[in-house]
Amino acid sequence: MVLQNYVMLEPGIPTKLHFTDHQIEARTITDPVTGQPALRKVLVLDVDRLNDRPVVARYSTMAEKHAQQFSPYLTDKSYRNFDFTITVQGEGFRRSWTVQVTPRQG
């Protein structure tokens, strides 16, 4: 059994990530409001650096608001040219992601 290594963000703590690839996956989740199973699209990004240290991990979000912060970089995978420092705050509908985008050197 392979346990997938997912990056979990801690509220209020900026986390610097570098992505190498991405997929959009369909997952069945239990809707927290209705309690019913629901099909959701999830943006999954492969992470090779976490806070400047090498890792093999994945970062995922099913929040459209957050996924759209990556949308300009998905088609051509140009996220490879940037570092993303993400700070999450709040819960539920008030959840907010501050994303700092920094061009990579060299």
Partner: protein, 171 residues
Amino acid sequence: MARKSQQVETRMVAEYLAQEYSKFTFITKVPLGKIDEALLATEGYQRALGLTRPFRPEVDAVVVLPQYLVLVEAKVWSVVNGLAKLPMYKSLVPFTPELQQYLPRDIIMELVVGWTNSNLEIMARDAGVRLRVYCPDWLNQVVQGMHKYWTKEYRDQRQQKIALREYFGIE
């Protein structure tokens, strides 16, 4: 039930920044303003930031240029609101702990809109706000829809689309 709304401004800001400022560092959804000193003393820096986050104003993006900070607010619908917010946001920048590392820098205010008109341009000029129009095809459809929103034809067409989405179970 099929959704009736869509996230527009987040995508608009992300694309605009990637297009215009990809050579520079930028930060999206930046809280502005000071943190209460008493709260900082009792709760500590990180926790105080978290506790005050929902009550602090938030600018869509800050771009860090060598000599300037650009405050970017994007609006599709309430364009005048976006314009009015920017000078208020500018006043808070010197007090924002998250931006201290980038100060001192001069501040440029930039309003990004999907459409403009001469009144908006007059107001922006007077307020010292740089006006930018960003309207790719997908956003143009939203803007056109907005302008036709109250017509019977558009309401009928929209209702039909929602009914179809519900029928096919599309989000």
